[in-house]
Amino acid sequence: MTVRNFKVWRGDGSGGQLNDYQVEVNEGEVVLDIIHRLQATQEPDLACRWNCKAGKCGSCSMEINGMPRLSCMTRMSTFEEDETVTVTPLRTFPVIRDLVTDVSFNYEKARETPAFAPPAGVAPGEYRMKQVDVERSQEFRKCIECYLCQNTCHVVRDHEENKKAFAGPRFFIRAAELDMHPLDAKTDRKEYAQSAMGLGFCNITKCCTEVCPEHIKITDNAIIPMKERVVDRRYDPLVWLGRKIMRRDELEQEAVAVTTLHAGEPTPQPDGAAPINWHREIPAPQAAVAEGDKLPLNEVLSDRTGASSPFGDEIEFPVDPATLNYYHPDRD
C-alpha cells in the first residue's frame, strides 16, 4: 500500500477547480477504486458514474491525465509511483457535477438515427442469415456506448457549433451496422449518414478508433467504407483525394491485379490507357507509437504536423526510380 497524489476536478456547470488529494493505493487497483475510496473516506458527495466495474457497461468514462478512458479499466500500475494522476470529466459534454457530464447529446443523436427496418413478409422465427454476414455488423454491436469516441472526436470537441449537424463516430457505426445488416429493408443508410448525420465532417484521423475500449475499428471498418461507397453520388473532398491515390473498391474486387509495376516494363493496355498502376500497395499512415502501456494524447496522435503523406509515411525521398510508376508517353 502506498499513498499517492491525485488531482480531481470538482465543480459544476458554473465552474470548478482541480483539488489535490492524497489517497491510499493498493496493488492491483484501478482508478475507479481510488475514486470510490475518495468518496468513502474524504469526499462523500464526489459525483461519478459507474455500474458494472468490469468494462462492460461503459458508464465510468472520464479523462485520466488527459486521455479519455474507462476508469474501471485504467490500472494504477500503469502510472509511476510518484506520478500525480489527474482525473477530469469528459470535455466534450457539459459538466453536471464533478466527474459527471450531461451526455444527452448522444441520446438525441441515437433518436435521430433511423431504426432497423424489418424485412416485409418475413415472419419472426423465419430470419435466416449467414454467420459470416452477421459478423460484420456484430463488430459494431459490441459498442458499450461509453461515448469516449464522441468525446475525443475533434469535430465536436471544443466545437459546440458542429454538434447540431454531426452525429459522431458512435452513430456512424450504428449506420454502418444497419447498412451491413443482411435483412435490413432500408437501402439508403450511407446516403443518410452523409446527408443528415454529418459523415463528411470526419477527416479520418482515427482518434475514435484509438480510444475505443472494445477495439472496434470505427474508422477502417465503418466510416471509410461508408464514405467510399457513398461517393458515387456525392462529393466528399477527402474521398476524392483517396480515390485519386488508390481505388479501394477496385482493390477489393481485383485482388489478383499486379501489385507493382516497374518503369521500363510496360504492360499491354486494353484501351490505350497509360499502364500506371494505381493499385500499388501503399503503407497506411501509422499512429505515433505508444510508450509503455500509455496511449499518446489523441490530439497529438501523429508524429508530424499536418496531414499524413498521401504516398504513405514509410516512403523516403528521393524514391528509387526502379520502384516508380512512371510511363513515358513517347515510348511504346
Binding site: 484501478v30 462523500p44 459525483a47 453536471i96
Partner: protein, 628 residues
C-alpha cells in the same frame, strides 16, 4: 414547500433492464402512455453483464428439444420448488420472445443453415442458449433500447414529439410507491442530476429493478442492485417469497478490489488449480464428506495423477460440488487461515506451465491481466464465495405478473425479472434469466396495460403521503452529524457476507438478525453532506433503507428454513427435506415496519405437468403423500 415536478402516465415501469424495457414496449404497443424509470443512464442496466445466453427451446441445434424438456430442466435446477406455472409459461414462450428480438434488429450467432445458434450450458439437456459470443446481455439490452427508439420515431411521425407516448427518465430513482387504498396511485422519486423531486401519477406500476447483491461484501452485482423493487413492493403491501435463496459462486475474486466479485470459472480447478490456505496448505483433503469419500482422492499424489489418468485414479477434492467447496473455503477463513481480504488462494501458476494456462484459459488470463494486472500464470488468485443472483422476490400471479399481498393482490402493481420470485425455485439455471426477463417482462407490460383499461377512474394520491415521502427523502440531508452512509453500507455487507452467506448456521443467523436490528437504528440516523445535485452519499443513504429491509427478510427466511436446497445451505440441516418443498416462506411488512414471515403451501401441480417426469425421479423430491 418543495417544488415537485408532476407527470401523468398510464403505466410506469421502474427499471430499465431487460424486463423493464420489454414491459414498456408491450405497454406502449397496447397504446398506453408509458414512462421508463432508469436508475442509471439508459442502456447501462445490469443485464449487460449476462454472458452465456438466453435459454429457449427452439430446437435449432438439436431438434429433440421442446418446451417440455426445458420445463423439466428448469424444475430440476430449482429442486422442484419453482412455481410450476411460471416454469411452464417460460419454457413455452421463450422461443417466440427470442425470435421477436430479431424483428427488432438483434443479431445472434448463427447455425450453418442460418438459424439462431444455440449452445450447451450447465443443467440444460440440449444446446439451448441463443447467444452472441459472450456478450448476449449487451445485445439484448441494446436491441430493446433500439426498439424503444424506433417506437419513439413512430410517435414523432404521428404526434410530432418523440416522447409523446413513451419516455425514458434516466438517472431517476423511485423512493416510494403511493397508494389509494389498496390500489397503486403513483410513484415518487428524485432526479439524480438535480436532486429535484418528481411524482408520477399512474394507476399501474411495473417493478423491474433487479436484485439485491449490493448487501453483500463480495458480489458480481453493480451499485444499482440495492433491492429497491423488493422494498418498494413490501412497503406497498406486497409479499416476497423465497428470499432465503441466493445464488453464490464458490470462487469469485476477493482481491484485488478492481476485480472483486468477478467469477473464476470452475475449469481453473478442472485444469489443475488447487486451493490453499494462508499457511500454504492444500486444505480440501480435510473436507471430503463421507458420502463422497469413495470418489475422491485421499492423497495429493493420487489427486495429481487424476488429471492425466482419470480412469485409474480418483478425482481431486477441489472438484467436489460447489456447496462443498464453498463450505470448505468458508471454514478455513472462519478458522483464521484465510487471506487478509477474506478468501483463500486458488493456485494454478505453480502447477502448470504458463503456456498451458494461456492455452486452456485464455479469457480468464486476459480478464485478470487487463482489469487487475494479475498474472494467473505467475501468482495465485485470491478467491471466496460471490453473491450472484437472488431467486426470491415479489410474489406474483404467474400469468399476469400482478404482485400478490397477504390478502389478495396489490391492485395495479406488477413485477418481472430478477425482482420477482417463484420462477427459478431454489436455484436458477444459467441462461434462464435472460429468457425470464423477456417472457415475464412482456406479460407484465401486457397485463399492466389491460389493468388500466379496467379502471373507471384514476386513483388519487393523498397529499399527506406525498409530504411523508418528501420528508423521508430529505431526512439524511437535514441531519447534521449523522452517520456516514459508506461506513454503514460496509458494515451491512460485512454482516450479510459473514453471517448470511453461502453456508448458514442457526447461531450466526440469529446473530445476524440482532446485528441488522442495531444497524436499522443507526440507518435511521444516517446523514449526508453536500447538496442535492448528483450526491452519491445522499443516494446511498436512501438506498440503505431498502437494503436493510430486504436483508432482514433474507436472514429471517434463512433461519426459518431448516433444510438445504439449491441456493440455501444450512450446515446444521445439510439434507433436502421433502416436507419443506411444500412450503414457500412469505415475507411481508406490517404497518409498524416489522417484517413478518409466514408459511404458505406451494401451488398444487397440474397432473399433466407431473406426468412429464418419471415417478422414480419425483420420489427424490416429493413426500410419500404427494406421490400416492
Amino acid at each position: 414547500m418543495e417544488n415537485i415536478e408532476k407527470h401523468e402516465y398510464d403505466v410506469v415501469v421502474i427499471g430499465a433492464g431487460g424486463a423493464g424495457l420489454r414491459a414498456a414496449i408491450e405497454a406502449r404497443l397496447a397504446g398506453k402512455r408509458t414512462a421508463i424509470i432508469s436508475k442509471s443512464l439508459f442502456g447501462k442496466a445490469h443485464t449487460v453483464m449476462a454472458e452465456g445466453g438466453a435459454a429457449a427451446a427452439m430446437g435449432n441445434v438439436n431438434s429433440n428439444d421442446n418446451w417440455m424438456v426445458h420445463f423439466r430442466d428448469t424444475m430440476r435446477g430449482g429442486k422442484f420448488l419453482n412455481n410450476f406455472r411460471m416454469a411452464e409459461l417460460h419454457a413455452k414462450e421463450a422461443p417466440d420472445r427470442i425470435w421477436e428480438l430479431e424483428t427488432y434488429g438483434a443479431l445472434f450467432d448463427r447455425t450453418k443453415d442460418g438459424k439462431i445458434s444455440q449452445r450447451n450450458f450447465g443443467g440444460h439437456e440440449y444446446p439451448r442458449l441463443a447467444h452472441v459470443g459472450d456478450r448476449t446481455g449487451l445485445e439484448l439490452i441494446r436491441t430493446l433500447q433500439q426498439k424503444i427508439v424506433s417506437l419513439q420515431q413512430e410517435d414523432k411521425k404521428a404526434h410530432g414529439d418523440y416522447e409523446a407516448r413513451i419516455k425514458v427518465f434516466a438517472e431517476t430513482t423511485i423512493t416510494e410507491l403511493l397508494l389509494d387504498g389498496d390500489r397503486i396511485a403513483g410513484a415518487f422519486g428524485y432526479y439524480r442530476e438535480s436532486g429535484n423531486f418528481v411524482l408520477f401519477q399512474a394507476p399501474a406500476v411495473v417493478l423491474a429493478t433487479g436484485g439485491v447483491g449490493k448487501s453483500y461484501k463480495v458480489t458480481s452485482n453493480s451499485w444499482e442492485y440495492t433491492g429497491d423493487g423488493h422494498a418498494l413492493a413490501l412497503r406497498a403491501g406486497a409479499t416476497l417469497i423465497n428470499m432465503e435463496f441466493l445464488q453464490f459462486h464458490p470462487t469469485g475474486m476477493v482481491w484485488p478490489p478492481s476485480v472483486k466479485g468477478i467469477l473464476v470459472t470452475e475449469s481453473v480447478r478442472g485444469d489443475g488449480g488447487i486451493l490453499k490456505n494462508s499457511d500454504g496448505k492444500r486444505f480440501m483433503f480435510d473436507y471430503v464428506p463421507d458420502v463422497f469419500r469413495k470418489q475422491y482422492a485421499e492423497t495429493p499424489e493420487e489427486a495429481d495423477r487424476w488429471y492425466t489418468d482419470p480412469d485409474n485414479n480418483r478425482r481431486p477434492p477441489e472438484l467436489l460440488p460447489r456447496d462443498e467447496v464453498a463450505r470448505a473455503i468458508n471454514s478455513e477463513v472462519k478458522a483464521g487461515r484465510g487471506t487478509k481480504a477474506g478468501g483463500v488462494y486458488l493456485d494454478i501458476a505453480s502447477r502448470r506451465p504458463a503456456a498451458e494456462i494461456l492455452k486452456r484459459l485464455p479469457s480468464m488470463y486476459h480478464q485478470f491481466k487487463e482489469l487487475a494486472d494479475v498474472d494467473i500464470t505467475k501468482q495465485p488468485m485470491e478467491v471466496g464465495p460471490t453473491c450472484h443472483y437472488v431467486m426470491g422476490g415479489v410474489e406474483v400471479d404467474p400469468d399476469t405478473a400482478a404482485a400478490l399481498s397477504v390478502t389478495g393482490t396489490v391492485q395495479g402493481l406488477f413485477a418481472a425479472g430478477e425482482v420477482s420470485g417463484g420462477m427459478h425455485g431454489s436455484n436458477r439455471l444459467g441462461g434462464n434469466s435472460l429468457s425470464d426477463l423477456l417472457v415475464f417482462g412482456k406479460r407484465a407490460g401486457e397485463y399492466a396495460a389491460a389493468y388500466t383499461d379496467s379502471l373507471e377512474k384514476r386513483p388519487a394520491i393523498a397529499n399527506a403521503d406525498l409530504d411523508a415521502a418528501v420528508e423521508t427523502a430529505l431526512a439524511p440531508l437535514n441531519r447534521a452529524g449523522g452517520e456516514n452512509p459508506y461506513t454503514l453500507h460496509h458494515e451491512l455487507q460485512q454482516v450479510m457476507g459473514d453471517l448470511v452467506g453461502i453456508i448458514r448456521r442457526k447461531g450466526e443467523l440469529e446473530e445476524s438478525l440482532a446485528r441488522l436490528g442495531e444497524l436499522k437504528e443507526r440507518v435511521a440516523k444516517v446523514g449526508a453532506t453536500g447538496g442535492r445535485r448528483y450526491n452519491p452519499g445522499w443516494h446511498l443513504a436512501l438506498d440503505l433503507r431498502n437494503m436493510l429491509l430486504v436483508s432482514e427478510c433474507t436472514a429471517m427466511a434463512a433461519l426459518e428454513r431448516e433444510e438445504s436446497r439449491g441456493g440455501h445451505t444450512r450446515e446444521d440441516f445439510p439434507k433436502m427435506d421433502a416436507t419443506w418443498r411444500k412450503v414457500n416462506l412469505v415475507s411481508s411488512v406490517a404497518k409498524t415496519g416489522e417484517v413478518d414471515l409466514t408459511h404458505k403451501p406451494i401451488p398444487v401441480w397440474r397432473q399433466d405437468l407431473l406426468d412429464l417426469f418419471e415417478r422414480s425421479e419425483l420420489a427424490k423430491y416429493l413426500t410419500e403423500d404427494e406421490l400416492a
